[in-house]
Amino acid sequence: MTEPLLSIRGLRKTYATDKGLLTAVDGVDLTLARGETYALAGESGCGKSTLGKIVAALIAPDEGSVRFDGQELVGLSPARLRPLRRRVQMIFQDPFSSLNPRATVRRIIEEPLIVHGMRGRTERRRAVAEMMDRVGLRADAADRYPHEFSGGQRQRIGIARALILKPDLVVCDEPVSALDVSVRAQILNLLSDLQKELGLAYLFISHDLSVVQYMADKVAIMHLGQLVETAPRAAFWDAPRHPYSQALIRARPNPDPRRRLQDKPILEGELPSPIGKRQGCDFRSRCPLAFDRCTAEAPRLHTLGPAHRAACHLVEGAAAPSDA
């Protein structure tokens, strides 16, 4: 078997806060293949954004390993990291804060090329013009400033900036959640077209399961820093195994007027605090199926099929015996 593009093992990240130790990422394992979209979904504060930033080498983890194309990223010196950076890029959520307000669109898209030492102004200009065309920006946009554009247009600029270095992996951190519905469709289509054309792999972070369903080949659900379920597309949507995944899928607002909120079962209770020591299953306070063991013992991830894992005591019986 060939080496996966991205392989994450035992990743942990904590933050010291006034109230105690906050565990943002708590022992995450994940493997991403070339050209694949792996979605990371969960509620706010579940650690999905932190995980994305660790992969983009914006944050150093406390423990664990991030291997990109066979090379370990954790603990690499800035100089050794630089050549790898052009292969791992990032698209951000907020189209208004993700672009330097004092730079022209051309400058913003050209910057990565300058940073990575691409010589020849005309060559760079040509690359910028090509990329702008590819993401659907008009050529006359080049000399204007970010504030002159709408959210969707600005997100296109951010995409062009991320892709001009021809990366292998792009971390997309909620790339459409700040956009209007009609614009969202344009950007999602663009992202999936570019993925096919350029053979990109996406680590796609989103709280919106509808977007995840459209984009992702594989889905990972995070809850308080831990993966509670990872599954290939079909397995996730047809047979989600973790009660939290099931609840999230049910909670997703669906534009079907015959499925009214009053008839739906909903999750009661609040998310437990990520600060301090925790015992048992983190989801048990909201879980409709919780029983004694959930308080006493934290479930570990059980392998249920190819790339399908769930961390719940209830799936133990169905788990393949050889899980590791």
């Binding site: 914006l58 052009r86 990032m90 993700s98 672009l99 330097n100 910057e111 940073v115």
Partner: protein, 280 residues
């Protein structure tokens, strides 16, 4: 034509700022014209001492206790005040920006260390510190400039640090890191351009406080004995303050007007550069 929304356009509609810039232009003209109008220099004792303004048409502003022409002194004084104001500000801005930028950018230990260092300077009253520094060296233009910049940079460092702390988590800065920018490049191309407005504004105001500091030092006799400054002039008139008050009042008014002018310009710059006030 200047468009209504251009920088100049916005500045131009700010009448106090226009008044300020006019005054400032006058002071600059005085500094530049001094050697042309008074080729003999400010130190020559050209007339009877303590001539009141208007008493002798040759000396429209009168003479001081040694019979030096107050008008000539005022013109030469503008040179020294502007020179000290500008150079001290420039030095303080450079130091303050570098320290503030480093603290804000690197954070953590570097930040704590640099801010601790900054606080040492801020806990001593600036004027007292300046007096100590100048007294420790021999009073000269250079030592005065060093002393003034030494006491002026801390507020600027704090300002730049605050700006950087605000900008660091912005996504375009993260994008710069992800694309592999070096720290220097990140600071120069992404952070500084977005922090420059308040730096410019507070630097422009710093010129005024530098002029005041210099006047204070010279008044206490800590001015450069070879430089005719407004502060020196005020100092000279000190002994005859009760009888010939015009000798201190004239340079005093000059300081007041120059400082006021610079403050007005600073305010105008602040309004013109601040994007939030653009659509008012």
């Amino acid at each position: 034509m200047i468009s209504r929304n251009s920088l100049l356009g916005r500045f131009g509609r700010h009448y106090p700022a226009v008044a300020g810039i006019t005054l400032l232009a006058a002071v600059t003209a005085m500094a530049l014209l001094a050697p042309v109008l008074f080729p003999q220099g400010p130190w020559r004792m050209v007339g009877r001492p303590q001539l009141w303004p208007g008493a002798d048409p040759r000396f429209p502003l009168g003479t001081d206790i040694l019979g030096r022409d107050l008008l000539a002194c005022l013109f030469y004084g503008a040179r020294v005040s502007l020179l000290i104001g500008l150079s001290a500000t420039l030095a303080a801005t450079l130091v303050g920006t570098m320290i503030g930028a480093a603290a804000g950018f690197f954070g953590g230990k570097v930040d704590r260390w640099l801010m601790g260092f900054t606080e040492i300077f801020q806990t001593t009253p600036p004027f007292v510190l300046a007096v100590v520094v100048v007294a420790a060296f021999t009073p000269s233009l250079t030592s005065i400039i060093i002393a003034i910049s030494l006491v002026s940079w801390p507020p600027l460092a704090r300002l730049v640090r605050a700006q950087f702390l605000q900008l660091m988590p912005r996504e375009f800065v993260l994008a710069g890191i992800v694309m592999g920018m070096s720290n220097t490049r990140l600071i120069v191309t992404q952070l500084l351009p977005n922090a420059i407005t308040p730096i410019i504004v507070s630097s422009s105001l710093m010129i005024a406080s530098a002029i005041l500091l210099e006047a204070g030092l010279a008044f206490l006799g800590l001015g450069d004995p070879n430089a005719m400054s407004w502060g020196y002039m005020i100092g000279v008139g000190r002994e005859v303050l009760r009888t010939d008050w015009y000798i201190t009042t004239i340079p005093g008014l000059a300081v007041l007007l120059a400082v006021l002018a610079i403050n007005l310009v600073g305010e105008g710059l602040n309004d013109a550069l601040n994007p939030r006030s653009r659509n008012r």
